[in-house]
C-alpha cells in the first residue's frame, strides 16, 4: 500500500479507511515539551484524515485553559493552535471531569469547545479506539 498523501486529496470526502485515534493529553503545558509535541502529532493525524479524538486529563487540562501567556516564560505560545484543530476536522475534544474539578476549573475556563466526560466514560471511549497515543 502506498503512503497516503493528504496534499493530493483536496476534496472533503470522508476517508473511508480512517482509523480511530485517541490522543491523551495529560501533562502541564510548559513544564515539559510533551504537550506541544503531542499537539503536533494530533495535527498531522488530522491532516491524514484520521478519525481523531482528543482527551485532556490530569494536568493536561491546563493546556487548553484560557489566558495563557507562554511568552512570559520565553516558551512558544502553542495554546491558540488548539483552536485550529477544528480546521483539521478534529472536533471531538473531551475533558475528564475529575481532573477538571480537582483543579478548581469549570467548562468556562477552556479556550476551545469541549465536552465534559467522567473517567469511566473516557474509559469506555478508549475501548472503542483503534489507536491510543500519548506523549
Amino acid at each position: 500500500m502506498s503512503e497516503y498523501d493528504p496534499a493530493l486529496d483536496e476534496d472533503d470526502d470522508v476517508n473511508e479507511d480512517a482509523q480511530k485515534f485517541m490522543f491523551v493529553n495529560r501533562k502541564a503545558p510548559y513544564g515539559s515539551i510533551h504537550m506541544h509535541e503531542l499537539q503536533e502529532m494530533m495535527l498531522i493525524c488530522g491532516a491524514y484524515e484520521q478519525d481523531v479524538t482528543a482527551v485532556f486529563m490530569d494536568d493536561g487540562v491546563y493546556a487548553i485553559k484560557k489566558g495563557q501567556q507562554g511568552a512570559a516564560l520565553n516558551m512558544k505560545h502553542f495554546s491558540p493552535t488548539y483552536r485550529a484543530l477544528d480546521g483539521y476536522d478534529i472536533e471531538k475534544l473531551y475533558v475528564e471531569k475529575e481532573s477538571m474539578e480537582a483543579r478548581g476549573l469549570t467548562p468556562d475556563d477552556f479556550l476551545v469547545d469541549i465536552e465534559i466526560k467522567t473517567a469511566a466514560e473516557i474509559g469506555a471511549l478508549m475501548e472503542e479506539q483503534d489507536v491510543i497515543l500519548t506523549a
Binding site: 500500500m1 503512503e3 497516503y4 479507511d17 482509523q19 485515534f21 515539551i33 510533551h34 509535541e37 503536533e40 502529532m41 498531522i44 493525524c45 491524514y48 484520521q50 483503534d130 489507536v131 491510543i132 497515543l133 500519548t134 506523549a135
Partner: protein
C-alpha cells in the same frame, strides 16, 4: 501480531528506551512482527551516534542499531523532534532513518497494536 512501538524518552535518563528495546526483542523472538519503532520527543536522542556511554554501561544507540541490522526493523526518527534536539543526517546513528510523523500514522494504521514507552 504486528506491533508499532513508540519511544518518547531519551536513553540513560529514563527506563523507557531500555523497556522498549527489551519489548521489541522479545516480540521478535516469540514470532511477532515489529512494523516500526518510532522515536519521538526526547526519544530521538536514542539515534545520536555521538552518544558515548562509559564502557561498562550498555550503549542503547548501538543496541537499537543492532536490532535494525539483525532483524531489519525499521527505526524511524521524527524529523521535527530530531532537528529541535540537534539530531540530523550528520549524527544520526547507523540503522536509523529520519522521517516525518506521517510515517508513524501509517504504521499505526498498518499494525495490530501500538505500544508507547514514555513518562
Amino acid at each position: 501480531m504486528k506491533f508499532t512501538v513508540i519511544v518518547n524518552e531519551g536513553p540513560f535518563i529514563h527506563q523507557a528506551s531500555d523497556s522498549a528495546l527489551h519489548f521489541v526483542k522479545a516480540a521478535i523472538e516469540t514470532g511477532h512482527e515489529v512494523e516500526q519503532v518510532f522515536f519521538y520527543c526526547d526519544g530521538v536522542k536514542n539515534a545520536n551516534k555521538l552518544s558515548a556511554p562509559q564502557s561498562d554501561d550498555r550503549n542503547l544507540v548501538k543496541l537499537w542499531g543492532a536490532v535494525n541490522t539483525e532483524h531489519g526493523t525499521d527505526l524511524v526518527v521524527c524529523v521535527a523532534a530530531a532537528l529541535r534536539r540537534g539530531i540530523t543526517d550528520v549524527n544520526v546513528a547507523e540503522g536509523f532513518r529520519i522521517s516525518g510523523l506521517g510515517q508513524v500514522m501509517q504504521a499505526c494504521c498498518d499494525s495490530d497494536r501500538i505500544v508507547t514507552f514514555g513518562d
